[in-house]
Structures are given as structure tokens and as C-alpha cells.
């Protein structure tokens, strides 16, 4: 399937991690924001048993694009 542009993917991921993994919203320092983002991606990759890279790779994006329930995954 064709992939959307990188910026779109990053926005999608940010929105996804905010909603389901409690990624903080608002402006933050550059370093803190990037490590938060990676930690949240890792958390999501761990949950879905994907390879834990902390990067927004194709497999991670594919899961993010699947239809799903709107309740956050981080209940535990």
C-alpha cells in the first residue's frame, strides 16, 4: 500500500500516542519532547509485540493506522 508523506506519518503518530499512550500535549523543550516521543513509541511497540526500536517504522505505522477501540492501551 502506498505510504503517506513523512510529516503526515509523524502527525498521525503524535495524535495516536497522545490519545492512547498519554504523550503530553503542548510545547516542550526539543530534547524532552523527542525522548518522550521515543519512549511512548517503545511502549506502544512493546504492547503490540512489535520490534522495539523507538522509531516510527513501517510496521509501527501500519498498526497505528488499523481500526481500533478508542480506550487508551495503558490501563495497567
Amino acid at each position: 500500500l502506498p505510504l503517506t508523506g513523512k510529516t503526515d506519518d509523524h502527525l498521525l503518530a503524535e495524535k495516536y500516542l497522545r490519545r492512547f499512550y498519554g504523550l503530553p500535549t503542548g510545547l516542550r523543550g526539543r530534547q524532552a519532547s523527542s525522548s518522550d516521543f521515543q519512549n511512548k513509541i517503545q511502549q506502544m511497540q512493546r504492547f503490540f509485540k512489535l520490534q522495539i526500536t523507538g522509531n516510527l517504522d513501517d510496521n509501527t505505522l501500519e498498526v497505528m493506522k488499523q481500526p481500533r477501540c478508542g480506550v487508551p492501551d495503558v490501563g495497567e
Partner: protein, 367 residues
């Protein structure tokens, strides 16, 4: 399985629910039935009971809404978010909302209301998302028929409420297979444009040369019209097709896309009508032949002529010595045949006609 923080649950076992509005996608009676069946799935394995209210405040208030629908937790239009529900508690606690922008159905043609309701009502009872891809409480939508709860869901809900004092006989959905289970067996293995696809129960693993870990997905997620159980599969690269066998039917894939005109009956390949399933199948590029394994025998199908070769079936034991005489799956890679029988994998040299190595089946998944 997971629960919400502080293990939120209802204090009493006799709960009420109310359906506030209905989707126009389905008849009212179909919505009522989907919700009632979804509640019953949980009631069957717990002491919980559910009484329907037609007015007033119920513990679980069920509604359909679009975008921002009154809880500052908006939906997003078609696809994406399908529904959400709140954990047990006063006020909004237990309430369950479905995205009206989805197309709701009672079959597999779009989003099945019963499946989504069963998942959401799990939240309304205190179940958080499970990371077991076979569980109903896995956060990604999938369709299946039969009883919707897996063992994982049952253990989770019973940890909150205990078992049903009058248990009903239910066959739970199997949990996702564990790739490193030493007793792991495969249903079918095939190549697909350089990837390897391994079918097991309702799932398949995808091995890609650029992926270090196998990827596990529900068959229905990728191919909703394929059956939940695959018996055999093989790739015929000359035509860029992968054939998938289940019972007396065979489907064809071109890449990940199902080919029109399928399923066809396996008997069209020249197998006798007495054969009701193919255990394993493999295409050998060097000879142009496809071998179809059924019980203790195998058949040779000539792809070029589209006919079954004369002199078959032949005995597996006679022609493939040193192995079991029945197989679950077989694949051909780098000039070698890999036969799978239960938890054992036989690497077989087709040229030298002998077994080279015997390994665990799970070693194929890097275990």
C-alpha cells in the same frame, strides 16, 4: 489481560443497561440483539446479570454519536476509532459510545456491531486492553464467528467478579500462539514474493528478510473472506500466485490481494472427491511440479499443463524416507524441502533424497 488502575469494578453483580439511541445502519431489533448477545458473552462466565431499562439512568448507558458527542472525547469520522467505553463508576462510568460514522453490520461486511459491543462492554465491566492478539480485549478490530471471548478475557473478567456459579459450556477463542512454545506446530507455510507466511489457527506470522522479528496478525484482519483455519498453502511464482487451501476449497492471492473467481473446489485440480482436505502443499520450481500431501499419500500436479501426474497418489513413506508419514506443512527454500510434523521440522535435500537435519518447528521462527 489488564485491568484499569485500581482494578475498577462494579460493586454489585446485578447491572442495568439502557440503549439511548439506535444506528440507522441496522434494524432496532438487530441492535438490541447485538448488545444483548455481547452482554451475555460476559454474563456466561461471571455471576453478572444485566437488566434492560427503557428510561432513567442505567449503570451502562449505550449510545451512537458522531465526532464530539457530549463527553469531550470525540470520534474521528469513518474508520480509525470505532467506539469507546468508560470503566465502572458513577456518572459516565460504564457508558459505551459507538461512532455513528462507521457502517455497522451484523455480518463481516463492515464493522460488526456485536464484536465491537462485546469488546466495549468488556471495558464497561472493568477490562482494559489486552496485548494478546487473540483476545477480544485486544485494541484492534477483528471479526470472528462463535463465542467472542478468549481464555485470556475469561481469566481477566473472572479475576474481577469470579466465575459463573452455573457455568455454560462455551468454547473460547484460542489465545494467540506463542512462537517459542516448544510444542508449537504449524498449519501451513508458504513463500509470498520473498516473504514467508506461516499459518497457525486464526493467525499468520510474516517473516520478511528485512524484519528481525516475525509479525503475528489475524488472518481475518488481512483477508476477511478467508476462513479462520488454513490447511495448506504454496506459491506458484511463475504466475505470481499463492494458493491457500481450507477444506475442499482453494483461494488464490496475487500479492496480498485475493484473486477474483475463487474459492474453487480442490477437486478441480484432479483430486478425487473422497479427499476432503489437503494437509500440506509445496511447489518445486526446479521441476514445475506441485506436491499435494493428503494423509499418508501425496499427489503431483503439473502447473504447466494444469493436470495431475499419472501414477499418483504415492506413499509418503516410500518416497520421503526418514520422516513421519504425515505432514502439517511443507515449504521449499534454497533447494531444500522443509517438512513440518507437530513440533518437529525435517530439512530434506530434494536432490539427495535424504533428511539433512531434524529441528524443532519453532526454530523456523528464530526460537
Amino acid at each position: 489481560y489488564n485491568h484499569f488502575p485500581r482494578h475498577l469494578k462494579w460493586e454489585n453483580n446485578n447491572l442495568t443497561f439502557r440503549i439511548l439511541n439506535y444506528t440507522p445502519d441496522l434494524k432496532k431489533t438487530d441492535v438490541d440483539r447485538a448488545i444483548r448477545s455481547a452482554l451475555n458473552a460476559w454474563a456466561d462466565v461471571t455471576p453478572l446479570t444485566f437488566k434492560k431499562l427503557h428510561e432513567g439512568i442505567a449503570d451502562i448507558m449505550i449510545s451512537f454519536g458522531s465526532r464530539e458527542h457530549g463527553d469531550y472525547n470525540p470520534f474521528d469520522g469513518p474508520d480509525g476509532l470505532l467506539a469507546h467505553a468508560y470503566p465502572p463508576g458513577q456518572g459516565i462510568g460504564g457508558d459505551t459510545h459507538f461512532d455513528e460514522d462507521e457502517h455497522w453490520t451484523k455480518d463481516a461486511s463492515a464493522y460488526n456491531l456485536f464484536m465491537v459491543a462485546a469488546h466495549e462492554l468488556g471495558h464497561a465491566l472493568g477490562m482494559a486492553h489486552s496485548s494478546d492478539a487473540g483476545a477480544l480485549m485486544y485494541p484492534i478490530y477483528s471479526f470472528s464467528t462463535g463465542y467472542p471471548l478468549a481464555e485470556d478475557d475469561i481469566e481477566g473478567i473472572q479475576a474481577l467478579y469470579g466465575p459463573n456459579p452455573n457455568p455454560k459450556k462455551r468454547k473460547p477463542r484460542p489465545d494467540a500462539p506463542n512462537k517459542c512454545d516448544p510444542k508449537l506446530s504449524f498449519d501451513a507455510v508458504t513463500e509470498l514474493r520473498g516473504e514467508t507466511i506461516i499459518f497457525k489457527d486464526r493467525f499468520y506470522w510474516r517473516l520478511h528478510p528485512q524484519m528481525t522479528e516475525p509479525e503475528l496478525t489475524l488472518i481475518k484482519f488481512t483477508w476477511p473472506s478467508l476462513p479462520n483455519k488454513v490447511d495448506a498453502a504454496y506459491e506458484y511464482p511463475e504466475k505470481d500466485l499463492v494458493y491457500i487451501f481450507s477444506g475442499i476449497r482453494v483461494w488464490a492471492l496475487n500479492g496480498y490481494t485475493l484473486v477474483d473467481g475463487y474459492p474453487k473446489y480442490i477437486h478441480k485440480l484432479g483430486l478425487p472427491k473422497t479427499i476432503r482436505e489437503v494437509d500440506a502443499a509445496v511447489h518445486i520450481k526446479d521441476t514445475g511440479k506441485t506436491l499435494l500431501f493428503t494423509d499418508e499419500e501425496y499427489w503431483s500436479y503439473d502447473e504447466a499443463t494444469g493436470t495431475m501426474d499419472a501414477g499418483f497418489p504415492r506413499s509418503i513413506e516410500d518416497d520421503f524416507p526418514g520422516m513421519h508419514d504425515e505432514f502439517d506443512a511443507v515449504t521449499f527454500q534454497n533447494g531444500r524441502l522443509y517438512f513440518f510434523h507437530e513440533d518437529l521440522q525435517y530439512e530434506y535435500s530434494y536432490n539427495y533424497r535424504k533428511v539433512i537435519r531434524i529441528m524443532r518447528t519453532n526454530s523456523f521462527l528464530y526460537c
